[in-house]
Amino acid sequence: MVLNTRIAAACATVTVIAGAADARDNVQVAGSSTVLPYAAIVAESFGENFDYPTPVVESGGSSAGLKRFCQGVGENTIDVANASRAIKQKEIDACAAAGVTDIIEVRIGYDGIVFASEIASNSFAFSAEDWYKALAAEHYIDGALVANTYTSWNQVNASLPDQPIQAFIPGTKHGTREVFEEKVILAGCEEGGYFHAMLDNGVDEDTAESACMAIRTDGRSVDIDGDYTETLARIAADTNGIGVFGLSFYENNTDKLQVATMNDIIPTTESIASGEYPVSRPLYFYIKAAHLDVIPGLKDYAEFFVSDDMAGEDGPLAEYGLVSDPELAATQDNVANEVTLGN
């Protein structure tokens, strides 16, 4: 008898655990660690002001988030993927193969990428060309690639201070790295005429681009695979260091960091919104349209995210460092009408 009741209890436990795969009542979000703080701010406000539970927001990176997003449709998959870059065709195909065909793309605003150094050290006024010259592995000089021998900033550009070159840039797993390579290093390569010199000498465009974007590996440039907090710690330890940060991170640490100008433009939400400051990128999140009718609050969350109260110019996201999107109204319409990618 005792044994029987025990078996019954064990069976009951199994049923209880098996029942775990039932309906989910909260929104699940994963993806970019750059978007994470914004998503957390929205999720927090959403939980406070709506009758739905606060969405669960995970980080892990844009690629990892989109990969999980594309695992399929169903309550056991995430509803929203945050990304600090646009979804790639490869990822759209992977999604479609798993049955995720209707994806709503939502651009929430722009994120500025800034260069900052220790507050007590020299101040810098960079151009993209300076960065290319300082960090490229090889320079194209007189028809040949020559290894980069610059060791201090004033060798790169006489107007820069005499300070050893030491840069802390995001590691290759970060979306920020791509933006840095394209909008700073490659742009500098083009500005300085190196890119065109290569093309003129018969180098094909792809090879020229990758030659431009190869970063030196002699220790003058250090990849940071962790977060901006790690970059900050490295700069605190090595005051010659110059780090790459998101604008919002810098704005929260203005007592420790000084920001460098780019083409004499100081990075602020205004100068980025107007496009004067060149290094910025759009931030997105992607919604699984098939989940809109299944997961309670998903649409409200998306609408709340892009509402003027949140993503608008005076909203908390802008206050935290998001550069609000001038075309926010169009985004709001897209979300309200559930316009999917490709439509």
């Binding site: 436990t13 209880v16 655990i17 098996a18 029942g19 775990a20 795969a21 039932d22 309906a23 989910r24 009542d25 909260n26 699940q28 994963a30 660690s33 994470l36 703080p37 998503a39 957390a40 701010i41 999720a43 927090e44 406000s45 939980g47 406070e48 002001n49 009758d51 539970p53 606060t54 669960v56 927001v57 995970e58 980080s59 892990g60 056991n76 507050i119 962790g226 977060d227 901006y228 907090t229 919002s248 991170f249 704005e251 929260n252 640490n253 203005t254 007592d255 420790k256 109260d309 908390p316 206050e319 935290y320």
Partner: protein, 439 residues
């Protein structure tokens, strides 16, 4: 020289010297270990103890009906439509009124004055009003969180000099708060909310707490205890007492020893594949976390249980068998009770190890921003099925946040975790001292 015990000959002197040297090495080793521990503890305690203090500002808030309940009928649904943005405006008015009443003048803009209060404050007032609609139209005296920078000023993290460079506060704001403090409106006191409140976003470090993380860790420990202990003990009793000694049991034994050394992240990958993708359990849930940690803890428990069973002298078994007990009776009536303290110690140490584990939880979605307290059981999500985080995960999360106030929170979370671990290890030691028998 005559040989005598009183004269030390060369060989003895050499041996004595070598012993002395060895003792020196030993002491040096202990010194290094203690130094490392002291350094660790000092850095964590200096950074983290302030997390257990929090600064509050008391203000009298008028709750005007025309702003918070326009219809005037106290309809809960209509009142819930009034967002925290509206409440923040009400708070700003209240704060300005308070400054005027106290005769405090400032050069700050109204917007910057409002920034001395936490963004959480509006939510606090709103939930207070929604819980008690009769408050509308009255003025309530309420204690609200000061913003992270103001709090940091009272903890020494923010100074006038750093505030001058800081985009989020200013020396004027700090002076303003000091004037409020002189009049008794500002108080720094023990921060219970740090242990009970849920996590908060990057804009409100002052409101972030460990409530969800502690609950999540607790649920996971339940799962681990109720699965790993019976399975581990059954496996070890069988292997130790009943199983024949042959090649198969040898293979099993080697494998268990190997599993104990497998990096914990591997269990996370396993958990993702089996529990989430195959068994369709909820991601981010303490159930999945507990199951993964159970897998991780099992080898530890089996190994320590087997050691405890081995240490029970064979004479006990022989005596029981000699008076006619069956093998099972001898095990359950005599061997297991005598081995119990050792088993429990091993289990608690295994649990403590599981409590501090982060890596496997990364892969099953527990490294997340979660603000809802997970319920132990709901009919929707099942047992321990609601999303939650865990203590070590919260530490990991907070160290990545941009706002410097989270450094203190992260260290505070480490202190909390260490207290839990210390408590568990103390229980293990107590059980061993109290019940262990030596032969």
């Amino acid at each position: 020289m005559t040989r005598s015990l009183l004269n030390v000959d060369a060989r003895t002197a050499k041996r004595n010297a070598s012993e002395k040297r060895f003792r020196g090495y030993g002491l040096a080793a202990i010194f290094v270990a203690v130094l490392a521990l002291i350094m660790l503890m000092t850095s964590i305690l200096t950074a983290g103890l302030s997390a257990f203090q929090q600064t509050y500002i008391t203000i009298d808030v008028a709750l005007p009906e025309d702003q918070l309940d326009k219809s005037g009928v106290r309809d809960p649904a209509a009142m819930a439509k009034v967002t925290t943005i509206r409440y923040a405006k009400v708070l700003k008015q209240a704060l300005l009124a308070q400054l005027e009443a106290e005769g405090i003048t400032t050069t700050l803009s109204d917007k910057d004055v409002a920034k001395i209060l936490s963004k959480e404050a509006a939510a606090t007032v709103r939930s207070r009003v929604l819980a008690n609609p009769d408050l509308i139209g009255t003025t309530i005296r309420i204690e609200l969180l000061a913003s992270g920078r103001i709090d940091g000023f009272y903890k020494g993290r923010v100074t006038m000099a750093s505030a001058a460079l800081d985009g989020n506060t200013s020396p004027e704001a700090l002076q303003l708060v000091e004037q409020l403090a002189e009049r008794g409106w500002v108080e720094t006191k023990f921060n219970w909310a740090f242990l009970t409140a849920p996590d908060a976003s990057d804009q409100r470090p002052e409101a972030a707490g460990l409530g969800v993380a502690i609950l999540g860790s607790l649920y996971m420990m339940f799962v681990v205890l109720f699965l790993a202990l019976p399975i581990g003990v059954a496996a070890s009793v069988y292997l130790e007492e009943f199983a024949p000694k042959n090649r198969w049991t040898d293979i099993i034994e080697v494998n268990i020893a190997n599993l104990a050394a497998v990096p914990s992240i591997v269990y996370g990958i396993l958990g993702l594949a089996i529990f989430i993708n195959f068994a369709q359990l909820n991601q981010s849930s303490p159930l999945v976390g507990g199951l993964v940690l159970t897998l991780m803890t099992l080898p530890t428990i089996i190994i320590s249980t087997r050691a405890a069973l081995k240490s029970v002298p064979p004479s006990i078994r022989d005596a029981a068998l000699g008076v006619g007990a069956s093998k099972m009776q001898s095990v359950f009536h005599h061997v297991l009770p005598l081995a119990a303290p050792g088993i429990l110690t091993g289990t608690i140490i295994g649990l403590a190890q599981a409590l501090g584990e982060t890596a496997p939880l990364l892969l099953i979605g527990m490294v997340a921003f979660v603000r809802e307290y997970p319920a132990a059981y709901t009919s929707d999500a099942g047992l321990f099925g609601e999303a939650s985080t865990a203590l070590p995960v919260q530490v990991f999360n907070w160290t990545q946040r941009a706002d410097p106030a989270f450094v203190e929170r992260a260290s505070g979370a480490i202190i909390t975790l260490l207290v839990f671990l210390l408590f568990m290890n103390a229980i293990a030691i107590y059980l061993r001292r109290r019940f262990e028998r030596r032969w």
